[in-house]
């Protein structure tokens, strides 16, 4: 078991009344799974992803990641856990505009206090794996959307995480680019055993996963195994 969510609740108070973003979410994810989260706008997909990614807290419930109770960890330990095991991929890529491709991929390694020479080796390896060695000195604005997302995924993988959380990774791409990215995810999942949890609107993309979780109004509506 990689991670487990038990009875997760999250809400906001708007004008005195409580609006639930998530209600009673229970989810167990095994190492090497490929999970898709689907649901209409406002159903809580992103919030759930943020909680899994430790970017956000729940108001109630328990979250166990790699045998550790996340909500009870201290900030520092949680950050440690998260730095080592989780990679993020965004719909809008979120590359740092002022940094080159190489430097963007290097960034998470810097925060892991990896030594300069080692960082070089890791980044070089990833550039090679993704076939973007030739673009390493370009800035994000000089790349197409698909290429930017490729760099985004490369960056997420740089720290060799156990799980990649992807928030609509193909949302800003055309269908061909999207397909390439999904193929990449599939390959990473199959060949490297990386656990992938993606939020998506598209049935087609969801079908790449082994399990699809349908959310509705913050609740798990349906779980479909494929």
């Amino acid at each position: 078991m990689l991670l487990q969510l038990n009875k997760i609740f999250k809400w906001v108070n708007v004008g005195g009344s409580r609006t639930f973003l998530l209600r009673d979410i229970n989810l167990t994810v095994q190492q090497g799974e490929f999970i898709s989260i689907m649901g209409p706008s406002g159903s809580g997909k992103s919030t759930l992803l943020h909680i899994i990614g430790m970017l956000d807290d729940a108001d109630e419930g328990e979250y166990v990641f790699a045998d550790q109770n996340v909500f009870k960890l201290k900030e520092k330990q949680r950050s440690q856990l998260y730095k080592q095991h989780i990679g993020f991929v965004f719909q809008a890529y979120h590359l740092i505009d002022e940094l080159t491709v190489y430097e963007n991929i290097e960034t998470p390694l810097i925060y892991q206090d990896m030594k300069g020479s080692e960082r070089k080796a890791v980044v070089a390896d990833i550039l090679d794996r993704f076939g973007i060695v030739g673009k390493k000195d370009l800035f994000p604005s000089q790349l197409s959307g698909g290429q930017q997302q490729l760099v985004g995924i490369a960056r997420a993988l740089a720290s060799n995480p156990k799980v990649i959380l992807a928030d609509e990774p193909t949302g800003n791409l055309n269908s061909k680019q999207g397909e390439e990215i999904m193929e990449l995810f599939k390959k990473l999942n199959k060949e490297d055993g990386v656990t992938i949890i993606q939020v998506t609107h598209s049935e087609k993309n969801a079908s790449y996963g082994s399990r699809t979780i349908h959310l509705l109004d913050g609740r798990v509506d349906q779980i479909v195994n494929s």
Partner: protein, 798 residues
């Protein structure tokens, strides 16, 4: 990691050229101003500290009671120093120096051309170069002054009189009343700029013993006032009270009823206490202004950086998602701020170098280059850099590192409310400082104008003063007669003192017992009153009466001070030896500086046949020449010069306009006004830059709002008004905060003046209008730009 931060900071610097320029430029301006002021203040405080024993050397001064006034006297008799030294074991060495009051003519007898008028000749005890730490380049410090008519000259003087030849052993001829030959026994380094004891020529004090003109100074054999600055080196700096007590006892021996007090002051304090008292005001005000300007620049920097933070929110979010802790983000922004601060600092240094001489001209200061590079000053500059880095980075790093990545990703811009509030406060603060300084500057300017144009009772225009020295002998009158014949000269007059620069003081017995009345005295000739356009209150019956023996002319203030009832004409004043009858009363006129109210004045009027003007007065006399304003002045002056040189071949011709002499009295205020205009320009520039940046940022942030408003039908004017009015409100708040503070401070300042203006409301109105205009100018540029933008574009990008 550090390299990564530097890289991104560097790229950001070039990516946002406008912000970078405003940020770095503003900070550099503030830092440069701060550095220059620091240089000035540090220099003032460094006076006389270069002496090895600076903390043990003390200057003697007395508080002497004269009539109702207490005066500080720095000069003591020739005998004083040895007497005190003999009577107090705590004194290890003593020193007397006497400055030659009037300029002397010095000549190298071997070179006819090497003849100049010199005004910095100092007589000093033989141990001068051991007592003080002036550096001797040639000669032995123990023997250079140990014989009469030995002379030590500065490097510059050596060059001036001897060229590159070795001056040691050569002679220089000094023309005082008689001519003396001095032998050059040593060469010293030029005086540093921070010494209060200045001399180009130091000659042995023992020379005075054989100089007849010095006889009056050498007579006294007791401890009392005299002509010599007196210094002591004490064994221990805690012996001050002991020595003061000894001096007090010695003083009582001379006059047991004396109320005089004898005191010591540390040598390094002498400069600010006695030398340049105008400076002490600035020394207090300037550091404050420096801090204000630095604060302004830092606040500007912080507010701009945090304003930009929202644009960096994405980067911060990404970094945090990628594992950056709050600490490392804070550190990153610190590194960035440091880079900017160091760059600003570099530019500031450059600005300093460029504007240093202008700034010091404005302050009428002279600061050695060696002082600028002294370790003490470099350390203080380094501290300034450190402080700047520390403060400049603090707020941005705290604010930026607090951004939450989730907010960034869910598309919420992190323009948190508190940031906006802080920036508004900063803007108000900046403009409050600017408005306050503008008000101060306007008031200083008005006050100066008022002083210059105050009715002083003297027609100062077109009157020249020519000093007449002893070398003129008895030819003064012949010169006057000759000048009178020149076309373009209306009238001439003689007096002992130039106007505003001195008068004698008499104490006469008042009506009550033991009452002493002080009476300022001017010795003038019969043309003085008419030449200077002084008005009569009660004119004499016949204008020749006033110059008859035992007659005096007094002013209105004297009538009051002496409490003369009825018609003063014919009443007498008892001057001890003789009684003088009042021949006429003139209206009050300012004969001393405008710092004082017009005091009583008695004028002894000599007939124009008197020809002993130059000889009588100790420091010569002054000739007043009223010229016709329509004449060709340069030609006339050269004619006067030629005539003058016919009668006096030794003392070079000099002249000054009474108007200039009058204006020179406001040197301190002039400096202040000059400095203030500089400060105003700086603050306005910095505040304007800050506002410009902030407006640009706000416009950028509100792009979407502006787009929507335009789609809904808002006109360009409406949008410009919308964007500008926010800032104008801030400027108005700043105005209301700054005005009372400025009013209070300037009212205090004005209270020091005898002749002062009242602060009128229009000064505040003008300052307010200036501030609003500056704000409008900077803001509306951005606002109009934003308002003109195509809404389709701005809405699509969102």
């Amino acid at each position: 990691m550090l390299r990564n931060y530097f890289k991104i900071a560097w790229r950001n610097l070039f990516r946002n050229k406008l912000y970078s320029t405003i940020n770095i430029g503003g900070l550099a301006l503030g830092l440069a101003a701060c550095m220059l002021i620091m240089l000035y203040v540090a220099h003032e405080y460094s006076f006389d500290r270069f002496h090895k024993n600076a903390n043990r050397i003390f200057t003697v001064y007395s508080k002497t009671v004269m009539g109702a006034d207490t005066m500080q006297m720095l000069n003591f008799s020739y005998a004083s120093a040895p007497i005190v030294e003999k009577n107090d074991g705590a004194i290890t060495a003593s020193m007397r120096v006497k400055k030659e009051y009037k300029p002397v003519i010095i000549q190298n007898p071997e070179k006819v051309k090497a003849k100049f008028v010199e005004s910095s000749l100092l007589y000093a005890d033989a141990n001068f170069f051991q007592f003080f730490s002036f550096k001797l380049l040639k000669g032995n410090s123990k023997t250079v002054l140990n014989q009469p008519f030995f002379m030590v000259i500065s490097e510059d003087i050596a060059l001036k009189y001897f060229g590159n030849a070795d001056p040691i052993g050569k002679t220089l001829q000094v023309k005082n009343d008689s001519t003396y030959l001095f032998r050059v026994s040593g060469v010293m380094k030029n005086n540093p700029s921070n010494t209060s004891i200045r001399a180009d020529f130091v000659v042995s004090l023992s020379s005075l013993k054989s100089m007849p003109e010095a006889e009056p100074f050498m007579e006294s054999e007791s401890f009392q006032g005299g002509a010599f600055l007196t210094f002591f080196t004490l064994k221990n700096q805690n012996d001050v009270a002991h020595v003061q007590h000894t001096m007090q006892t010695l003083g009582k021996k001379v006059d047991k009823d004396s109320k005089d007090r004898y005191l010591l002051t540390a040598l390094p304090d002498m400069h600010l206490k006695f030398d340049d008292s105008a400076n002490i005001k600035y020394i207090q005000i300037f550091p404050l202004v420096a801090i204000l300007i630095l604060l302004l620049a830092l606040v500007n920097y912080m507010s701009l950086s945090t304003a930009r933070a929202t644009l960096r929110a994405k980067e911060i979010g990404v970094r945090k998602v990628n594992g950056a802790s709050r600490k490392s983000v804070a550190f990153q922004f610190y590194v960035e701020s440091s880079l900017y601060a160091v760059l600003s600092f570099g530019f500031a240094c450059l600005l300093c170098v460029l504007f240093q001489s202008r700034f010091f001209n404005l302050l009428q200061l002279n600061i050695d280059a060696s002082f600028v590079y002294s370790p003490a000053f470099i350390i203080s500059i380094a501290l300034l850099l450190l402080f700047t880095i520390l403060i400049a980075g603090l707020y941005p790093s705290i604010v930026m590192s607090s951004f939450k990545p989730v907010e960034m990703m869910s598309g919420k811009k992190s323009s948190n409310g508190s940031g906006v509030w802080v920036r508004k406060t900063f803007t108000v603060l900046q403009f409050a400082i600017a408005v306050a300084l503008i008000v101060c500057g306007l008031i200083i300017d008005r006050q100066l104008h008022h002083l210059r144009h105050t009715e002083t009772g003297v027609n100062r225009e077109n009157v020249l003063v020519v000093p007449v020295q002893k070398t003129m002998g008895i030819s003064g009158n012949a010169l006057r007669k000759d000048l009178q014949d020149l076309h373009g000269i209306i009238s001439t007059a003689m007096a002992h003192y130039p106007l505003y620069k001195g008068y004698d003081m008499f104490f006469i017995q008042g009506k009550a017992k033991n009452e002493n009345i002080s009476l300022p005295i001017l010795s003038v000739d019969e043309h003085f009153i008419s030449t200077l356009g002084i008005k009569w209150r009660k004119a004499p019956i016949d204008k020749f009466v006033i110059s008859q023996p035992k007659k005096v002319v007094i002013n209105e203030a004297a009538v009051n001070k002496l409490n003369i009832q009825g018609d003063p004409i014919g009443k007498t004043i008892d001057f001890g030896r003789d009684e003088y009858a009042i021949a006429g009363v003139v209206k009050n006129f300012n004969f001393q500086s405008l710092n004082a109210k017009i005091d009583a004045l008695v004028m002894f009027v000599a007939p124009d046949t008197t020809n002993t003007w130059g000889i009588e007065g100790n420091s010569g006399a002054s000739m007043f020449i009223r010229v016709n304003p329509k004449t060709n002045l340069p030609v006339l002056i050269s004619q006067i010069k030629n005539t003058y040189e016919k009668y006096d071949k030794d003392t070079p011709f000099e002249f000054q306009f009474v108007d200039d002499a009058f204006n020179a009295m406001f040197k301190a205020e002039d400096r202040l006004a000059g400095i203030f205009s500089l400060f105003i320009i700086l603050t306005v520039l910095i505040a304007g830059m800050g506002l410009f940046g902030l407006a640009a940022f706000t416009a950028q942030q509100r792009t979407k709002e502006i787009g929507i408003r335009k789609v809904l039908g808002a006109t360009v004017t409406q949008i410009t008004t919308l964007l500008s009015s926010d800032f104008l409100r801030l400027v108005l708040i700043a105005f209301f905060i700054a005005s009372p503070i400025a009013w209070y401070v300037m009212n205090q300042w004005l209270n020091d003046f005898t002749y002062r203006i009242e602060i009128s409301w229009w000064i505040f109105a003008l300052a307010g209008i200036i501030a609003v205009l500056i704000a409008l100018l900077t803001v509306s540029f951005q606002a109009i730009k934003a308002a003109l933008a195509n809404p389709v574009k701005s809405l699509r990008t969102e």
